[in-house]
Amino acid sequence: MRTLGTVDKGKNVKIVRIGAGTGLLGKLNSMGIYVGDRIKVINNAGGPVIISRDNMRLAIGRGMSQQIYVAEEEE
C-alpha cells in the first residue's frame, strides 16, 4: 500500500486507511477527510501535500501524509 506522501501532483486517489489512533483520525474527519474518500493531489513538492476534496484545499504535513494510505484511481 502506498502513502499519500508518494502520490504525484494531479493524481486522483482513494483513501483506504488512516494510520492508527483516534487523534489523527478525528482530526482528519473534522476537516472533512474520511476513509473511502476520493481526493486529488494538487501539490506535492517536498513540503506539505496539498489535496482537494470538493471545495476544500487542505495542506497535510509530510509526516501525516505518510500515515494516510491510498489507492490510485483510474483516470
Binding site: G26, K27, S30, G32, G47, P48, R57, I60, G61, M64
Partner: protein
C-alpha cells in the same frame, strides 16, 4: 419593563464567516475579554432584538469539539458550563459536508441549535445548491440561509433563534446510530451515568458515553469527582476490550464511518452539485503564490512592502500628533508657574510620556491593517504552507510561522497564537523565540533613531535589516533549542487553505480597531504607570546636593541683567538635578555595561529600564528625559535632541553605527512585562519567563557588541 436577557453563542469552523455575522449583529458594541484562566479571547457583544437583550458570544472557530486544541476545549466547556440559550452554528455553504461534522457534535451535545448556511451566494457560484428545507428536516434543526457580507438573512436568523427560544419552533433530536455492538456498550455506560443525576444533568448521557469510549482525557478528568466514576472506569475498560475483540483497532474507524454515513446521507439527498472542478480562481492564484521557487520571494517582498508602507505612511501622522502634543503642552504649561513640580509632572510626565505613546498608534494601526488583510484574504494560511519546508529545517513546522508573523505586530498575540500548535516541543520553541520577532512597539524606537541618523533613502533598508537580524537570531536559537532542550519529532499538521477572498473593509477595520484598542488599553494602564514612575525616578530625590549655589548665581545673573547667563545656569541646574536623580544614578550604573556596544548615552540606559515595563515606554522615557533636561521654551523634537547629544568635549554621542547597535539591542533584549506575563501563563511556570528575560538580554548584548565592534573595525557608519 426590563428586557429579558438571553445568551446566544456563535459556533463554526474557521473561515465560515462567523466573525462577519458577529460584527453585523453587534456593530461596534463589543467587548473583548479572556476566557477565565486562559488567554483565548472571548468576544462578546450586546444588542436588543424583539424585546430581548441578546448577549452574543463568538466562540473560537473550530472544526470539532474534541480535546485537540485549547480552542476546542474552550468552545466545548462554554457550551456545557454556560448552557447558552441558543447556539447558532455558522456553516460555510460551499463546504457543507465538512461543516456538518461540527454540527453533528453540537447536536450530540443537545444544544438548542440554529443553522446558518452562510456564504450561500458563493456556494451557488460554485455550483452547490442546497435544499435547505430538506436538510433541516433530515437533521431536525431550524436553519436559515445567510450572506453575512451582504447583510442578508441576518434578521431572519435572529427571528428564528428567538422563535426556537420561545418554543414556537422546535428541533427534533436526531442522533447517530453507531451500530448494534457499539450502541450496546454505550447503553451500558449511559445507565451508569444516569445514576448520578448531577452528571446526567450536566452532560447528555450518550455524548458522555461516546467521549468515554473515545478516552477523552479532558472529559474523564472533569467527571472524576462523580460517585459513579470508578464504575465508569471499570465499564470503560471492559467496553473497549470487548469492542477491540470484535473490531480490533478499527473501533474508531467504525465510529468515524457511522458519523460520515450520517453526514453524507443527509448531504447526498439535500445538496446538488452541478459543476465539477471548482475553486479554480484560487488554484490559479496558488500556482503563483505557493510556487516552489517564487512562493518565498513573493512572500518576503510583500512583507517588505508592508513595512515600507507602514513606515512611510505613519511618519506624517506621527509628526502631526507630535506637533499637536507640543501645542497642548505649551498651552497647559502657560497656566502654571515655571519650574514647579506640578507643571513638570503634567507637561513632562503625562503629556510628554503618554503622549509619546499615543503617537505610535499610526504604526500599530497600519501594521495590523496589513496583518488583517493577510489573514482574511486567505494568504496567511499559504504563508504557513510555503514556510513549512523552511520551518522544518529549524525543527518547527509551518504553523509556527503564523505566531512568529503575529509577533511582528505584537509578541503578546504571537505567543498566544502558539496555542494552536498541539505538540509541546513545537509550542515551547515557538513561544520562546517569539520575542525576537520585532513587535510594533519597537518600531517607533527604530523610527526615531533611523529618522535621526540615517538618510531618508536608506531608511527602509535599515529597518528591514533590523527585522532580518531578529529572524536570523530566532532561527539560530530555535535550532539550538530543538537540538538540546526540546528534542523530539516535529509534529505534522493538517491545515485548510481557504479560497482567496477579498476581505471586507469592515472586517479588516474591526480587526485593526480591536488591536489598536487593546494596545491603547495597555497604554492607558501599564504605560501610564510606567511613565509616571519614570517621571518620579527622574525628579526625585527633590533636594539634591548641587555642586554650585545655583540659586545665588542665578539671582546674581538676573541682577546684572544677563538673560543668556540665567538660561545657561537654569539648564545646568536641571541637568545636574536629573543626573543626581534616581533615574540618573541607575542609568549611570548600567551605562558602563552598555559602553562596549557603543551606547554611551545614560539617558538611553534609563529608557531601557523603562522598556522592560513596555517597549512603548522607551521613546516616552527618552522624550521625558530630554525635555526634563532641557528647560528651553522650545520643545525640541526628540530626534533633534538626540542628534545634538554630545560628549563634554563636544564630540558627537551618536554615529549611525551607535544608533544601529542600540536598535539591535532594543530588538533583542528582555521582552516587555506583558510578554513575560503571557509566557508565564502559556508555559504555566515561572521558570520559562525568567529564563526568557535572561537569555534574550544575554543574546542582545552579544549581538549588539559584535555588530558595533565589527562595524567599528571595518569603519562602517562612524
Amino acid at each position: 419593563m426590563m428586557k429579558k436577557k438571553i445568551t446566544v453563542a456563535l459556533a463554526g469552523n474557521p473561515n465560515s464567516g462567523k466573525t462577519t455575522i458577529f460584527n453585523e449583529l453587534t456593530g461596534s458594541n463589543q467587548k473583548i475579554a479572556n476566557y477565565p484562566g486562559v488567554t483565548v479571547e472571548k468576544k462578546e457583544g450586546v444588542f436588543d432584538f424583539q424585546g430581548y437583550t441578546v448577549s452574543l458570544v463568538d466562540l473560537p472557530g473550530t472544526y470539532s469539539l474534541t480535546a485537540n486544541s485549547i480552542d476546542e476545549i474552550i468552545a466545548r466547556d462554554f457550551l456545557i458550563e454556560e448552557k447558552p440559550d441558543i447556539v447558532i452554528n455558522v456553516i460555510d455553504s460551499s463546504n457543507l459536508e465538512r461543516s456538518l461534522y461540527l454540527t453533528m457534535q453540537l447536536m450530540q451535545l443537545k444544544v438548542p441549535l440554529v443553522l446558518a448556511f452562510n456564504m450561500y451566494d458563493a456556494a451557488l457560484k460554485l455550483g452547490v445548491s442546497i435544499n435547505r428545507e430538506l436538510i433541516s428536516e433530515l437533521l431536525g434543526i431550524v436553519s436559515v440561509f445567510t450572506v453575512a457580507t451582504k447583510k442578508s438573512g441576518i434578521i431572519e436568523l435572529m427571528e428564528k433563534s428567538i422563535l426556537l427560544y420561545e418554543g414556537k419552533l422546535g428541533n427534533r433530536n436526531v442522533t447517530v446510530n453507531y451500530g448494534v455492538d457499539i450502541e450496546k456498550e454505550l447503553n451500558l455506560l449511559e445507565t451508569i451515568i444516569n445514576r448520578d443525576s448531577r452528571l446526567s444533568g450536566k452532560y447528555p448521557a450518550k455524548w458522555l458515553a461516546v467521549k468515554i469510549i473515545e478516552q477523552d482525557g479532558q472529559i474523564l478528568k472533569k467527571i472524576q469527582d462523580s460517585p459513579v466514576y470508578q464504575e465508569i472506569k471499570k465499564q470503560q475498560s471492559e467496553s473497549i476490550k470487548k469492542l477491540k475483540s470484535i473490531y480490533a483497532d478499527d473501533v474508531f474507524v467504525l465510529m468515524s464511518d457511522r458519523r460520515y454515513g450520517f453526514i453524507s446521507g443527509a448531504c447526498s439527498e439535500a445538496v446538488k452539485i452541478t459543476k465539477e472542478d471548482r475553486h479554480t480562481i484560487s488554484d490559479v492564484i496558488d500556482k503563483v503564490l505557493i510556487h516552489r521557487f517564487f512562493g518565498i520571494p513573493i512572500f518576503l517582498l510583500s512583507m517588505w512592502l508592508i513595512f515600507r508602507l507602514t513606515f512611510s505612511l505613519s511618519q506624517p501622522l506621527i509628526n502631526l500628533i507630535h506637533s499637536g502634543l507640543n501645542i497642548l503642552g505649551s498651552v497647559i504649561g502657560s497656566f502654571m508657574a515655571d519650574g514647579s513640580l506640578i507643571r513638570s509632572f503634567i507637561v513632562d510626565g503625562i503629556i510628554g510620556g503618554v503622549g509619546g505613546v499615543l503617537s505610535l498608534v499610526p504604526v500599530i494601526m497600519l501594521l495590523f491593517f496589513a496583518i488583517a488583510v493577510l489573514e482574511y484574504s486567505g494568504y496567511m494560511a499559504r504563508i504557513a504552507f510555503i514556510m513549512d519546508r523552511l520551518m522544518h529545517k529549524i525543527g518547527l513546522h509551518g504553523r509556527s510561522f503564523i505566531p512568529m508573523l503575529l509577533g511582528f505586530g505584537c509578541n503578546v498575540p504571537g505567543i498566544m497564537a502558539a496555542r494552536s500548535i498541539e505538540d509541546y516541543n513545537d509550542r515551547m520553541v515557538t513561544i520562546l523565540i517569539n520575542p525576537f520577532m520585532s513587535c510594533g512597539a519597537r518600531l517607533p524606537v527604530y523610527a526615531i533613531f533611523i529618522g535621526a541618523f540615517f538618510p531618508e533613502k536608506m531608511a527602509g533598508n535599515v529597518l528591514f535589516s533590523i527585522y532580518l537580524v531578529g529572524i536570523i537570531v530566532a532561527v539560530v536559537v530555535a535550532k539550538i533549542f530543538r537540538a538540546y532542550v526540546f528534542k523530539g519529532e516535529t509534529e505534522s499538521f493538517v491545515m485548510e487553505l481557504p479560497p482567496y477572498r477579498i476581505p471586507t473593509i469592515k472586517l479588516v477595520v474591526m480587526h485593526m480597531w480591536e488591536k489598536v484598542y487593546s494596545y491603547l488599553n495597555k497604554a492607558g494602564t501599564i504605560i501610564f504607570i510606567g511613565c509616571v514612575f519614570i517621571w518620579f525616578l527622574s525628579n526625585y530625590p527633590a533636594n539634591v546636593n548641587y555642586s554650585k549655589d545655583y540659586g545665588g548665581l542665578i539671582k546674581k545673573a538676573e541682577e546684572t541683567g544677563s538673560r543668556s547667563k540665567v538660561e545657561e545656569l537654569q539648564a545646568e541646574k536641571a541637568k545636574e538635578s536629573l543626573e543626581k536623580s534616581y533615574a540618573g544614578t541607575m542609568g549611570k550604573k548600567i551605562s558602563p555595561l552598555l559602553r562596549p556596544l557603543g551606547i554611551y548615552d545614560w539617558k538611553v540606559s534609563v529608557s531601557l529600564i523603562g522598556g522592560f515595563v513596555a517597549k512603548e515606554i522607551i521613546i516616552g522615557t527618552l522624550a521625558t528625559l530630554y525635555s526634563v533636561g532641557n528647560p528651553s521654551e522650545i520643545h525640541m523634537s526628540l530626534q533633534e535632541s538626540l542628534k545634538q547629544s554630545r560628549f563634554p568635549d563636544g564630540s558627537r554621542m551618536y554615529a549611525p553605527l551607535n544608533a544601529y547597535s542600540l536598535m539591535i539591542f532594543v530588538l533583542l533584549y528582555v521582552p516587555c512585562i506583558a510578554s513575560i506575563a503571557v509566557i508565564k501563563r502559556e508555559t504555566n511556570s515561572w521558570f520559562w519567563p525568567i529564563f526568557t528575560a535572561v537569555y534574550t538580554t544575554s543574546i542582545a548584548w552579544i549581538v549588539a557588541f559584535s555588530v558595533f565592534q565589527i562595524g567599528r573595525f571595518l569603519g562602517f557608519g562612524i
